[in-house]
């Protein structure tokens, strides 16, 4: 890097100066923001705007400026664009949900090194916890319960029980994580992966079939309507400001802010975990389990804690998801979702918090926006009869729906990342150090030992 022309270090050095970086970041945020505000349907501009978060992360800026920049971008500009184009709010909320899921899985897979292929089970547990209690579902089998709040749910102005159940679901999901963790403690590596996969499928099959003999989950039909968080205080506050807004206008922004808040909490918790003795214990287990035991890491407790912590994030997000969607069924909690979340953290970098955030954002936007946009564009071309390389697109068969090929996207990302950059786009600092150290050790080893001993995996 350093050996290229002298101009590059100079530009870097200039960028390192805080005032220059600050101006640059502000101009970028406001500039892309203006572009999005001017053309609220443009996808490239929206992506550029999202890129400002990356810019804030990579530029050398004082911490307070980063905080203000992120705050302005996420808490002011984003909801503002959301009110102009509701789809952005939907995308941003989904991204937030997946960021939290990715951070949760990142604890289990990235930090503790336990490959969990059934992570979506905990998300399902959270979602069903609220869906069953926050809707009329239980009244179908037990009408005598009808007086008890929040059963019966469905009030248009929402219920404060939502927040209670956010905590309840965290606990329920964490307990489910412990229940999964206990029997699989002895398993390692790929066997653990298959067992967690089976566990994820079991939860989905249960959700699909627990509509008889007693109706808990309403089977494949799913549960609706699911109660939402209370809107009263928001309406009152907006009314005090003289703004008239219907629930349909308020809820998307409201959910966005709840998700933002929860994601903030999740990031803080993950950070605290990572930089504590618990995080170091997890990483020790990941790198070398026997050595970790020898150094006195309480293996059982640490592994269970990893499962419980990861699961609890998913539980909270499940509650948010079910309330936001108004409707859930088992189709939302398939193996595909688990692999989607895994793809996010592999892409970003296992064990890396910014990596997980970047991966979740990238993959979600790819799925929600880019694939759909591509599908729509292709359809337009097809209807217009555009010819590419001598092939008339009007001949494309109607079964071909490019938006449905998310598996292919996940597959390509996973294989390419594993082959070319297994540490991810933003590797965690410790991982990077480990890679460098390993390379260094290899050199020293080769210099000392002339005897060719093939270094074996593990």
């Amino acid at each position: 890097m350093r050996n290229s022309s002298a101009a590059i270090p100079t530009i870097r050095a200039v960028l390192r100066r805080p005032p220059v970086a600050m101006v640059l970041a502000s101009v970028y945020i406001l500039g892309t923001g203006a572009l999005v505000a001017g053309t609220p349907r443009s996808l490239p501009f929206f992506l550029l705007f999202i890129g400002s978060l990356l810019l804030l992360y990579y530029l050398q800026l004082p911490a307070w400026f980063k905080a203000v920049g992120m705050g302005v971008t996420l808490a002011l500009l984003m909801p503002f664009f959301g009110t102009r184009n509701g789809f952005y709010m939907e995308v941003a909320t989904q991204v937030g949900i997946f960021v939290a899921l990715a951070l949760g899985l990142n604890i289990v897979v990235g930090l503790a090194g336990l490959l969990d292929l059934g992570y979506v089970a905990f998300y399902a547990v959270g979602a069903y916890t609220w869906a069953i209690f926050g809707s009329g579902q239980l009244l179908k089998s037990w009408p005598q319960l009808s007086g008890i709040f929040p059963l019966g749910g469905g009030s248009p102005t929402g219920t404060a029980w939502f927040f209670v159940f956010l905590l309840v679901a965290v606990a329920v999901a964490a307990i489910t994580g412990l229940l999964l963790g206990l029997p699989v403690l002895r398993l390692r590596g790929d066997y653990l992966a298959i067992v967690t996969l089976g566990f994820g499928e079991m939860i989905r099959v249960l959700a699909n079939n627990l509509d008889h003999p007693l109706n808990f989950t309403n089977g494949p039909i799913g549960i609706t309507p699911i109660a939402r968080p209370p809107i009263g205080p928001i309406q009152w506050a907006l009314g005090a400001l003289g703004i008239e807004a219907t629930p349909a206008q308020i809820y998307p922004v409201y959910f966005y802010f709840i998700v933002l808040l929860v994601v903030g909490i999740v990031i803080t918790v993950t950070n605290r975990f990572k930089n504590s003795h618990i995080g170091r214990a997890w990483e020790a287990i990941r790198e070398d389990e026997p050595a970790a035991i020898a150094m006195g890491v309480p293996l059982v407790r640490m592994k269970l804690l990893a499962f419980a912590a990861g699961a609890s994030f998913a539980g909270a997000m499940g509650v948010l998801f079910s309330a936001k969607q108004f409707f859930i069924n088992p189709e939302s909690f398939t193996f595909l979702e688990s692999i989607g979340v895994l793809t996010m953290i592999i892409l970003g970098g296992m064990g890396s918090i910014p990596g997980a955030i970047l991966g979740a954002t990238g993959v979600t936007i790819l799925n929600l926006q880019i694939l759909k946009q591509f599908s729509l564009t292709l359809n337009d071309w097809k209807n217009a009869g555009v010819t590419i390389l001598g092939y008339n697109l009007a001949n494309l068969p109607p079964q071909l729906e490019p938006a449905k090929y998310e598996r292919m996207v996940f597959g390509v990302i996973l294989v390419l990342m594993m082959i070319f950059r297994p540490q991810g786009i933003i590797p965690s600092r410790r991982r990077k150090m480990e890679f460098e150290e390993a390379a260094l050790e290899k050199e020293e080893f080769a210099a000392e030992v002339v005897d060719t001993v093939e270094p074996k995996a593990e």
């Binding site: 090194g113 490959l115 292929l117 029997p183 699989v184 002895r186 398993l187 590596g189 790929d190 066997y191 992966a193 298959i194 067992v195 996969l197 089976g198 566990f199 499928e201 079991m202 099959v205 249960l206 699909n208 079939n209 008889h212 003999p213 026997p290 193996f335 692999i339 895994l342 592999i346 494309l396 068969p397 109607p398 079964q399 071909l400 449905k404 090929y405 598996r407 292919m408 996940f410 597959g411 390509v412 990302i413 996973l414 294989v415 594993m418 082959i419 297994p422 093939e454 074996k456 995996a457 593990e458």
Partner: protein
Amino acid sequence: MEWDILIRIFPQVLVDGVTLGFVYALIALGYTMVYGVLEMINFAHSEIFVMGAFVGAEVLLIMQASGALGSIPALPLLVIVLAAGMAAAGGLAVAVERVAYRPLRGAPRLVPLISAIGVSFFLQDAIRLTESLWRNAFFLTYPTIAFFDERIRLVATVDISVKSLTLIAVSILMLVGLSLFVGRTKLGKAIRAVAEDQATAGLMGINVNGMISLTFLIGGMMGGAAGALFGVQYGTINPYTGFIPGIKAFTAAVLGGIGNIPGAMLGGVVLGLLESFAASYMSLLSGGAFGAEYKDIFAFSMLILILIFRPRGLLGEVVREKL
């Protein structure tokens, strides 16, 4: 409780279970051979199986469209379908190994597993894409062949269709052939040597990469045959058909002792029987509260229980832990 119903359906459930079990056994071979040699779960094996099923379906559908289907006798037809399915699946398995697993050899264990999951997902949609472009449909139905649908009466209340019988016969033939190949031939010995110790086998002049490719080829061919037979037996397939049979075949491989070829066969048949009985009897015994829809849960619970209490399976040797 109507005990006589339970007894009356018993032979039929047994026959169905054995048929299903041999499908699992054929798929399980692919998992167990690759695990034996590379110690990795070839997660994409379920798509290799689906590949065989799709190629078999395409061969039959194209023949049907050209009118050749009626004029060819059933047995040569079966040979053609099996050969096509096996060739395609075997080739695909070798290609997958070359592209997605070989560059990762020697990496930490989870790395090739994640790559395999990626391949699996990619192949599912690749098959869907190809079929959508080619046929504008990705749910395919095997053309019915009258000969295979005939039923042979075994005893008064039990009959078995010719296709099930064919499936069982072909499977047994292949399993015996494979056992002989791995156990008695020089190439088989070379594969076993590579499984034992790659470095030493290499020093002895064995082409390690070649043997690994051969392992994938054989496993893939068995999977492809299973796919074609599965299609003939059960009729409809789609690109995502392979997932559940794949997981169950893996369960069968673990049940029999992973890396162990006779174990995979035994595990397959045992799992098929257990599942068949669970599916038929659970509903009867619980008065309809829990029915066949829980058979997947049953199989997964089996997997978890085996891995916890007897990870080496029925026939497996004690797994040594490499450090």
